[in-house]
Every structure is written in C-alpha cells, then in structure tokens.
C-alpha cells in the first residue's frame, strides 16, 4: 500500500521568513515521483514542485525547494522569503511509475503572518 503522511496539520510563518513542511511516505516501489501541491481558498490545486526518485539532486523552483531523503522516505518542502500569497493548504503527493493516480497526504494549512 502507498501512504503519504503529513504530520503538521497547521503551521504559521512570519512574512519574509522561511518555513519547512514535512512529508513522509511508505512504498515498496523503487521508481516513483513526488509532488507538492498548493490549494488556496479558491480550491484550485496548483503544482508547486516535483521530484523524480531516481534523481539525487533536490528540485528547486524559485523560492520553493525540497529536501528529498530517499532512504528515509522523506520529502520536505522549504519555502523561503514567505509571502502572504503563500497562505494555503499544501499537499504532498506520490505517484509510482506506471500508476494512474496520485496518492495524497492530508495536507498542512500554512498561514503567512504579515
């Protein structure tokens, strides 16, 4: 079974500061993809960043970066220079290669405080 765990239901960060959201997953697969999605109050899920498991280098997209630890099955998201527009639910997701769907964690609600 594929499971994704986000142990932080809620987090807050001061504007311009850095915050890290945690995610762990459980799988017996060796090849897979990991993602972080953002869901603002508009409900529209937006892809933030993705990581291929076969790549050792951590993915980076502007202010967003990940710390991928394959042996520990950990995939945390770091948001630098937090902005008010970063306030949203953040979901970690996992897709085994060849699978038809994403497996999601339960999400972390992030609030950026001005």
């Amino acid at each position: 079974a594929q499971t994704v765990t986000q142990s932080q239901p809620e987090m807050s960060v001061q504007e311009a500061e850095t915050v890290t959201l945690s995610c762990t997953y459980d799988t017996s697969e060796n090849n897979y993809y990991l993602f972080w999605y953002k869901q603002p109050p508009s409900r529209q899920m937006i892809l933030v960043i993705r990581q291929e498991a076969y790549k050792q280098q951590n993915a980076t997209e502007n202010r967003f970066s990940v710390n991928f630890q394959k042996a520990a099955k950990s995939f945390s998201l770091k948001i630098s220079d937090s902005q008010l527009g970063d306030t949203a639910m953040y979901f970690c997701a996992f897709m085994p290669t060849g699978a038809n769907n994403l497996f999601f964690g339960t999400g972390t609600r992030l609030t950026v405080i001005p």
């Binding site: 993809y33 290669t97 038809n100 999601f104 999400g107």
Partner: protein, 114 residues
C-alpha cells in the same frame, strides 16, 4: 488558454437524489482524473480516463458512483441515491499523456447532501 472547468461550483441535494457533476478538461489533454476531497482529508482517487482505453475505476467507493467521458473530452461523474457521507469537494484534473504528474486541476464542485 482555458484551464479545467467544473460545474456546478456548489450543489446541495437531498439524501436519496441523484447528482451529476461535470468536468471540461484542457483541450488536447487525453488523461482525465476524478478525486474526492472530504473535510480534513487529502484527495482520494476515484477514476481515471486515458484516451479511448477502458477507464481505471478502482477508486470508486461504491456502485452508486459512475463516470463517463464522451468524445474523449467532457466527463460526467454521477452519484446515485446520494448519502450524507458523499458530501465532499469533487475535483477533476487533466494531463497530457507522457507528462507524469503534471495534472491540472479544476476548482472543484462542493457537494452537500442534506
């Protein structure tokens, strides 16, 4: 270009009634997904369509749930004899074949069963 659209945005129905939820994917996207997001939960996979292939229905929770995709484009999710536990946000996503995980989500339909 236009993103994934869903209608209605909100739907309130009485227990026991049937409902239809509509999804218009991004033009040219051959893959289409339905997910369910219950309060406080992550997204739960329901069904996946890829081109003209038989859909992957492995996530449908009961035989009251069904979905169609006509002409490889618009999809309708039907819930028969709705129950209160069906109350959730139903999200649709589409993607181009071969771009794993680049799923583009619609804004969802919030279904409330009274």
């Amino acid at each position: 270009g236009a993103g994934v659209s869903q209608s209605p945005s909100n739907k309130v129905t009485e227990k026991g009634k049937d409902v239809e939820l509509r999804c218009d994917p991004i033009s040219g996207h051959t893959a289409l997904y339905w997910y369910r997001q219950s309060l406080g939960q992550g997204l739960e996979f329901l069904i996946y369509f890829q081109g003209n292939s038989a859909p992957d229905k492995s996530g449908l929770p009961s035989d009251r749930f069904s979905a169609e995709r006509t002409g490889g484009s618009v999809s309708t999710l039907t819930i028969q004899r709705t129950q209160q536990e069906d109350s959730a946000v139903y999200l649709c996503a589409s993607s181009l074949t071969g771009i794993l995980g680049e799923q583009y989500f619609g804004p969802g339909t919030r279904l409330t069963v009274t």
